[in-house]
Amino acid sequence: MVKIFNAVLVVCLLVSAFFLYSLEHSTRGLERQIAKMKNGISTEREAIKLLNAEWSSLTRPERLQKLAEEQLKLQSITASQIVTLADLPSKIPDQPLVKLNDQGTDPIGAILEKMQ
């Protein structure tokens, strides 16, 4: 009786030892994974910070203004160019405001033709 009981205990001990070992093994694996992830996250964070700084350096108004002045033919907006929605006519007029036939030339049409 005692022998059987002892044998059962020994088996239990072995099983639990194995279980404990495998559990610890997998825990270590997970811990390594967590450390790796954390490392990855902080690397990514650093990269994001660096990119943010670069973005803000590339889009600084001083640089954009210089580029715009060199590359674009745009002018600063004046107050008279801003209109509210209410200022716009609610429907298209029946007669076109500029009569192409009377004017003789069609500047916008000419540009379009050129593009083709």
């Binding site: 902080s42 964070r45 650093e46 910070k49 660096l50 943010n52 700084a53 670069e54 973005w55 803000s56 350096s57 889009t59 600084r60 108004p61 001083e62 203004q65 600063s76 907006i77 004046t78 107050a79 008279s80 801003i82 509210t84």
Partner: protein, 568 residues
């Protein structure tokens, strides 16, 4: 167990003794094992999260320095990771090869100097190069030279360069803030902003400023153009939100590059708008007018005799744009009459004058987040003469930001709101606000400011559609204790849109010169005012101010269009 024990204990009394002893032992053992089991269970099952791994915590950096961002989230200051390369000369086996491969990887290293550094006797630690890029670090690390290693460091960078450098400030080599908002973060504890958000993670929330980078740039750009155009010594511009006290832009020129390792700041490069005090001149007249209205000693219909100079003791006060007639209050304002304004102050009385200046906050040092702030320079005795000259801005000097803030309070409805560099909502501002003048007084001030732009000294500030109002000031500078006739400080304080002022603007040019374009004038109306007008034209669309045109404006615009067409 009892059975096996019985086998070895034949005699009665001994048996009893032995049994008792064993029972005691087994109880002690059981208790011992139980205690272990309980402790084990507690540690593994119940107490699942151990109080932070102490080994890990020790390795983590204390608290990362928070980024600084503008009101729209643009990064103005941030930390980046850099590596610094060092060497232990004692461990280097082949010196020639080490020097050769190091200089091959980093061409900017001088091989001769490097060799001297490495062969110096008794050195165990030598910096090869501080703050290198990750690529360079890897390249050197991959050389595999024994005794060469790197440490990770953090470096503070300002991606915007010179823009808003005075507000942001800078840090020293150990990333401790020593100027501007950077110093503020340290004084409050970098913990201050960091702890506001996520204290447990390794990131800290950024400190958000009230500043808008786009507006800051527009102001800096226009002021720097004006400094060149009018050959001024220096210049400055501020945009203030009158309702919340937020400083949207603050530019003081000349400025500096906060990214430079060796800044060597000259006194010219300091932030003149907060750390300098200036006699602001005639713009201070607005304070006198508000005072007279508030005490009820003058109204818009009162008149003042400016036919003769005002004599107090042996001093005489005269007018720059002398009219030599009886002026109404609006005329005193638009002609910027010293005599009229001094008379208004004398009517109120010296005691009331001082009391009013204290109430609006011109007598105390203005304290904001930026640590560089100067105390106002005040007359030693508030005599009758001191009061009369202070009425038109002579004899007492304040921070330019302080002057703007006070005038902004007078026209925003009469509520004093402390200016701030940090983002603030209207609700937060309302809690801080307290009344300094009656709403009616503020109403009258708005009228005068707008009138002065429509037909007074600030007429060049009239950006059609945006309803600008303002007051100019040309203060003669004190050189060696005397007022100089040819060196002056030109200032303009204005606000828009004047029917409900939302933004206040300040422009200052130090010692502007007369140019052919200004017909030989060097007064504020010819330099500071056009600069302000250009700034407003650029920033009003960004700020979302809707232009409104009166019939007069439209006529002016049509005329303007006609002339440009003719010229074109």
């Amino acid at each position: 167990m009892e059975n096996s024990v019985e086998l070895h204990t034949p005699k009665g009394t001994e048996r009893l003794h032995g049994q008792n002893r064993i029972r005691l032992l087994s109880i002690v053992f059981c208790g011992f094992f139980l205690a272990i089991a309980v402790q084990l269970g507690q540690l593994t099952l119940i107490h699942k999260t151990p109080a932070a791994n102490p080994e890990l915590a020790a390795h983590e950096t204390p608290i990362p320095r928070p980024d600084i961002i503008d009101r729209n989230g643009v990064v103005m200051a941030t930390d980046i990771a850099v590596a610094s390369l060092f060497a232990d000369p004692r461990k280097i086996t082949d010196m020639d090869e080490a020097v050769e491969s190091l200089t091959a990887t980093m061409p900017d290293l001088d091989s001769k100097a490097l060799r001297e550094k490495l062969t110096a006797p008794g050195r165990a630690f030598v910096w090869l190069k501080r703050q290198v890029s990750p690529e360079e670090r890897d390249a050197v690390y991959n050389l595999g030279i024994p005794g060469v290693g790197y440490v990770n460091e953090r470096k503070r960078v300002y991606p915007l360069g010179r823009l808003a450098a005075h507000t942001i400030g800078y840090v020293d080599v150990d990333t401790h803030g020593i100027a501007g908002i950077e110093k503020f973060l340290d004084d409050q504890g970098a913990l201050y902003t960091a702890s506001l958000s996520e204290p447990e993670t390794s990131t800290s929330a950024p400190a958000q400023l009230a500043m808008d980078m786009r507006i800051q740039h527009a102001v800096t750009d226009e002021v720097s153009k004006a400094v060149i155009k009018y050959k001024a010594k220096s210049g400055g511009g501020i945009i203030l939100d009158t309702e919340t006290g937020e400083i949207l832009a603050l530019a003081s020129l000349p400025d500096y590059n906060p990214n430079a390792d060796d800044k060597r700041l000259t006194s010219d490069q300091q932030n003149k708008l907060t750390s300098g005090v200036y006699e602001l001149g005639s713009v201070i007249k607005a304070v006198t007018f508000a005072m007279a209205f508030d005490y009820g000693t003058a109204s818009l219909t009162s008149t003042y005799d400016t036919r003769s100079n005002l004599v107090i003791g042996n001093a005489r006060i005269s007018d720059f744009h002398a009219q030599r007639r009886v002026l109404t209050v609006p005329e005193v304002f638009t002609n910027s009459s010293n005599i009229g304004t001094a008379k208004m102050a004398l009517q109120v009385g010296v005691e009331n004058h001082v009391e009013f200046l204290r109430r609006v906050g011109l007598l105390d040092r203005l304290v904001t987040e930026v640590p560089e702030s100067a105390k106002p320079l005040l007359p030693k005795h508030w005599s009758k003469l001191a009061s009369a000259t202070a009425a038109f801005g002579h004899g007492f000097a304040v921070q330019p930001l302080q002057g703007l803030s006070v005038i902004s309070d007078l026209i925003n409805g009469g509520m004093s709101i402390p200016p701030t560099f940090l983002k603030r909502t209207k609700e937060e501002a309302d809690v801080l606000a307290h009344r300094v003048v009656k709403p009616e007084t503020s109403e009258k001030m708005r009228y005068l400011f707008r009138l002065n732009v429509e037909e007074g000294t600030a007429s060049k500030a009239d950006v059609l559609g945006y309803r600008v109002g303002g007051k100019t000031g040309t203060a003669e500078k004190v050189i060696h204790g005397r007022y100089s006739k040819d060196k002056s400080l030109a200032t303009f304080i204005g606000a828009f849109p004047m029917d409900h002022p939302k933004y206040a603007i300040f422009v200052m040019l130090d010692e502007p010169q007369a140019t052919p374009e200004t017909y030989g004038f060097a007064t504020a109306g010819w330099n500071a005012v056009p600069t302000a007008s250009k700034i407003i034209e650029r920033i009003a669309p960004l700020l979302g101010v809707t232009p409104v045109f009166t019939a007069e404006d439209l006529a002016k615009l049509a005329k303007l269009a006609k002339t440009t067409k003719k010229n074109g």
